[in-house]
Amino acid sequence: MAELEQFFPLEIGRAHEVCGAGASAFAAMACGADRSDNARTILWLQLDWQSDIVNPVGMTPFCDPSRIILARAKNQQMLLSCAEEALRSGAVSHVITELYRPLDLTAGRRLQLAAEMGKATGILIVSEGMGSNAAQTRWQCSPECPTSVSDGHNPKTAGLTVLHWELIKNKKGTLGSWKVCWNAQAHRIIVVSEACQ
């Protein structure tokens, strides 16, 4: 089983995909955990008719909300064109895009090239099974039921939310599955246990 440190924080200059109920938390943690010099503005792209909004107050444990710029587009095509423009410009360090339709290979590849050119990290929040093959990594994230994790035996994670992250696609390396927690003080991920397959 591979170590999580190899894949997280996410590789810079690539576009990654994430799906599942914990996807937006994953994106927020990916931005917060990146402590390189590269960490600058985050562009969060959403649809303008979407009712779920990112709550900046809820974002504070993960990353600084003043880094976030939220842009609202009409449809998926606009979302993708804005994401590409932003990734290519190099003015932002992370571009998080919430997609609602399947992503085709051409669009995925274009984002990949744009991210490479602007040295930015692209995070695409997709629905299950709607990603493209061009993604560098694809993660499936879901929160874990509190009883299934035996509390108390690990004092590091007492009282913290346990998340189940599964790497289901990786262009460079092996897949993996981890149970993790977020440490808000240290701004980093704690691996609780490597989930048994």
Partner: protein
Amino acid sequence: MHRRIVSLWFPRLASDRILRINPVEAPFAVTHHEKNMERLYCLNSQAVQQGLVQGMGLSDARALCPDLRTGPANLHADHHFLSALLRWADRYCPWVGFDGNDSLLLDVTGSTHLLGGEEEMLEDIHQRLTHSRLHVRSGLAGTRGAAWAISRYSKGIVPQDKLKIALSPLPVAALRLDDATCTALQRLGLRTIGELMAMPRATISRRFSLDVVRRMDQALGDQSEQIEPEAPKISYAARITFPDPIGLYGDVIAGLERLLNRICNKLKRQESGARALRLICQRVDQAAVQAELRLARPMREAECILPLFERSVRELDAGYGIDQLRLEAFDVEPLPLVQVDANTAHQDSGDALDDLITRLGSRIGLDNIIRFLPAESHVPERAFVEASAAYTSPESKWPRNQGSQRPLRLFSPEPINATSRIPPRKFCWRRMHFSLVKATGPERIAPEWWLDDPSWRSGVRDYWHIETKQGRRLWMFYTPRHPAWFVQGEFA
């Protein structure tokens, strides 16, 4: 040196403005809706000959003169036209101001000799205005009040020493008094200014307000009166006309570059920056297409603005060709010069971000790009405000985690089927079934009574942090006054 003031009165400004463009050789009137009725607002001379007067109802006028042609009044356009005349009057003296909505005042002190004298100047003014089909009446005198009186009730030039003689035969209305005062004066038998001047001042001021005496003093020069000149308005616009129509993208960009250079040089001289620019392309088929650019920060560097225009210029439809380009900066902000040194090199990243916001704004609109700013409120949806990213800068005073956690995603409350006081053991939300494992709470949040928010009409809310067996962690609330449960957010 005595002051010399010209009053130019355009008695038919509104109708002249329309008739200059569409001349009609028939009775014509401009109508305006006032006092609950369409009334004649401005007439041409043929209409006056037919016996029509200003202020008459339109239906009465039609009865008197069946072939009357009319047009609607446009007060805004009239003012615009008068402003154009004001700019034109700059050729005679630098000190020109508005006087009401149909006349101009020119302080020509010391500038009459440039045209050969006072008579020559007035003649020149009349000649030029008549040539452009405008009716004008003028008066030249030593005071503003006298010039006004002469232009309305007489004409010509009044030398300084003959001011009293010239004003004496004019009616009292020439003193710019209201109708009620004029009528009252006439009832007393005071019909002309000369008769009024012969009266003792104390009697007049006791009988009427001080206004009459003040207006008389102003007309005779015993009391000074100012002319407020209009501040010169700098327009940031440039245009280019082509001998042959153009249609290629590269040509339009090359034309645009020339215009941008001109505007940017002007912006640089005035130490300001453009926030919004508009390119208007006049096509050979008389249509016009335009491209608008809104910038995320004020800018005046032509080489930086030009690439931002590229996208919208590409979308323009040139039709059969474009023969005129006009570029205007319609939103200009002050942008002082800044000393650049090596230590401020990090500002480049901010500039790059502003450029990105501009480019995204040209796709999805600048209003759709927002930034969160913290707000002082314990109501979860009002603990932050969404502000336009282009007009604000980031603020880092976010409240640190004060025990009560807030959800990562927030949405408008979605009801679930439960009414009990304690959190439901099983419930259904968004067509998914959940069973409760652990509930933390309640945290009671009261509505802000000083703001009437319809979504908070149901009173206080008890918020619970619900952990479910399915894994998802929801933020739910119970309203004790109207027992119901709602889901409002989801934790990480």
